[in-house]
């Protein structure tokens, strides 16, 4: 007996030595991510935007609806750092407050589209067969329209308004997610650990949710950040075209739309919303890029 104990203790020592040093995955991820400067800067910018979305209405120097007929179409000045619009309203304040509406509509649309896309993609990839064909052909149909045209068509059917813009943007987010997740699901479902899960008696939905889905999360995160950019652009475009937010509401796209009437006399009205939309979309794309590079083990 004592002999046996001795051998096990020797075994124990060897195996403990053989273990690779444990390094927290999260720590490793943060370290890698920090090396990508553009992604870090984008992340900081996005965090600032989110803060603006939450606290913007308290921080705005002027009331967004307050007209000031003494200061119509004023260029940037010390008083109004980004100038005023055709009613003398402070553009900086309106953009700051408008962050909430623009981001909220884009984010909620992307989230809704993502969730639906993930569910459809998982089902299509995992079960295959006719249900796969059905879902993917439906996605192909949606794919065949240019994004913005599809959104316009949907809004044309549903009627204008911010809710319908969200629905429209969500709908065109679905197929790209469904396709990406389907591909990832097909790869993951062939892996041995899914077969192992089956061999221990797991139910299908459990395999899908617990074993297959986490394997696809990486592509979800990356695509999500990219799609948020697209969604902001699309929501702004729809507002610009007059389908989205009410023109009186402080929304980036709506401001751009209103400002275009004064493009010759006061270009700053469109300049600042335009720059803001551009930079925001860029930030989301760069963040997505950075995340992809960080999450992909092949890129070091």
């Amino acid at each position: 007996m004592s002999d046996k104990d001795k051998t096990t203790s020797v075994d124990r020592f060897d195996e403990a030595e053989a273990l690779p040093t444990q390094k927290s995955r999260r720590k490793e991820f943060v370290q890698k991510f920090m090396k990508r400067k553009t992604a870090v800067i984008s992340l900081i910018f996005i965090v600032l935007l989110l803060l603006a979305a939450i606290f913007g209405s308290y921080m705005a120097p002027y009331d967004v609806d307050q007209a000031d007929y003494n200061n119509l179409l004023q260029g940037p000045s010390a008083q109004h750092i980004w100038g005023t619009d055709e009613f003398g309203r402070d553009i900086f304040s309106r953009l700051l407050v408008g962050t909430r509406l623009s981001l909220a509509s884009a984010l909620s649309a992307t989230i809704a589209g993502t969730v639906l896309g993930i569910v459809l993609g998982l089902i299509a990839g995992y079960y295959g067969g006719w249900i796969d064909s059905l879902i993917m052909r439906a996605c192909d149909v949606l794919f065949s329209f240019p994004d913005i045209l599809l959104a316009i068509a949907i809004v044309a059917v549903l009627g204008p308004g911010i809710t319908n813009v969200i629905i429209a943007v969500a709908v065109f987010t679905v197929p790209s997610f469904a396709r990406i997740i389907r591909g990832a699901t097909i790869t993951v479902k062939e892996s041995l650990y899914v077969e192992v899960a089956r061999s221990i008696g797991c139910k299908n939905w459990r395999i899908l949710w617990v074993h297959v889905f986490p394997g696809t999360v990486q592509s979800v995160i990356v695509n999500f950040t990219m799609r948020v950019g697209t969604a902001i652009l699309a929501a702004s475009s729809l507002s610009f075209l007059g389908f989205g937010a009410n023109v009186t509401q402080p929304d980036w796209g709506a401001m751009l739309s209103q400002g275009r009437n004064y493009l010759n006399t006061a270009p700053h009205i469109v300049l600042f919303p335009g720059i803001l939309i551009f930079v925001t979309v860029l930030a989301f794309n760069l963040l997505g890029d950075g995340l992809r590079d960080t999450l992909d083990p092949r890129m070091n």
């Binding site: 124990r12 192992v196 089956r198």
Partner: protein, 336 residues
């Protein structure tokens, strides 16, 4: 006589290829008793894994089918069970260990979650209780620091450790039958020995029946009490391990054993079996091994021999005209 655990009778599994069905496994019958390790050997593509997956009913449902036969587990045909009943059997009564331990574990989940999942699937106990059981079962497979291992992700463990974890997971619900599909193929030799020892220990302790699928004759020689040799989807020979190595009957088994390198033997080239396993879709007409067999006769190419008891030994079976039990006397005259 030991209790009969698994009894596979006349199993035939087919796969779909270009809208027609090709037979991958045919007329496979064997049994496993409680506390017995049975080896299933044969070269790649001979139907070993398909046989085990058929028993577990884990083959892809749309492109494969079990068209004939019975799989009796405790005397009950599990091929007739519905999906729900089958899910209860998997993991709880019959467990499986796979070839590549590193890929058998979900890379996104901690070990603890995976073992606890297996336990909770089949036991109505609390998570804390399941955690304790996971700890115990990891300890029982010789993992030095179960708590740390439980908190690890698979990529933090070595191959041998992963296979231990897999075995722990397979054993967590104390199944009566363990199917090990090449459990040591992907491991290096010292770890192989440890894993084999561990499995032997499990058999001793829990009286588990083990089906050891492998192409490594060394492993079966060491572990198994009985060996089943498969070729081209059929069992060609079945014998107790000592008898099989002492006097292999089927020409294919003879070839297999001859082609294993032996320490100390001073041969410049290893004997091998010419040719390769026939394609499933275009099997030869008679004996499937005839094209590669050095004893092949006309009769071999016309009619496939049955798996019959070998003349003079009660517990051996062989699928070869040379050893057809009924013509035991003929054997000597042909073999000259």
């Amino acid at each position: 006589m030991a209790e009969r655990l698994l009894d596979v009778k006349n199993l035939r599994t087919e796969f779909q290829r270009d809208k027609s069905w090709v037979t991958a496994v045919n007329e496979v019958s064997f049994h496993i008793d409680r506390g017995e390790i049975v080896g299933l050997v044969g070269e790649s593509g001979c139907g070993k894994s398909v046989t085990s997956l058929s028993v577990m009913r884990l083959l892809p449902p749309k492109t494969s089918r079990i068209s004939e036969g019975k799989v009796l587990f405790h005397g009950k045909d599990i091929l007739k069970d519905n999906k729900k009943e089958m899910k209860k059997i998997r993991g709880r009564e019959i467990s499986m260990i796979f070839q590549e331990p590193m890929n058998s574990l979900n890379p996104c989940m901690r070990i603890s979650k995976q073992i606890i999942e297996a336990i909770l699937l089949h036991n109505d106990i609390s998570k804390g209780e399941a955690h304790r059981r996971a700890f115990d079962v990891l300890k029982s497979v010789g993992i030095p620091d179960p708590e740390m291992t439980l908190n690890s992700y698979p990529h933090q463990l070595s191959g041998g450790m992963c296979q231990r974890v897999m075995i722990a997971m397979a054993m967590s619900c104390e199944p009566e039958l363990l199917i090990a599909d090449e459990p040591t193929t992907a491991l290096d030799v010292t770890i192989q020995a440890q894993i084999l020892e561990l499995m032997e220990g499990i058999k001793e302790k829990r009286n588990t029946g083990i089906l050891m699928i492998t192409h490594d004759l060394g492993v079966v020689a060491e572990m198994c009490s009985r060996i089943i040799v498969m070729y081209a989807g059929r069992i060609v020979e079945e014998a107790p391990v000592k008898e099989l190595f002492a006097s292999p009957k089927h020409p294919y088994t003879q070839g297999l054993i001859e082609s294993v390198p032996k320490l100390g033997s001073d041969v410049s080239s290893l004997p091998f079996i010419p040719g390769s396993v026939p394609d499933l879709a275009s099997m030869p007409k008679g004996c499937k091994f005839a094209p590669r067999c050095k004893y092949a006769m006309d009769i071999c190419r016309q009619k496939e021999p049955d798996l019959t008891p070998v003349y003079g030994s009660g517990n051996r079976r062989c699928r070869c005209v040379l050893h057809d039990g009924d013509k035991g006397d003929k054997k000597e005259e042909v073999k000259v």
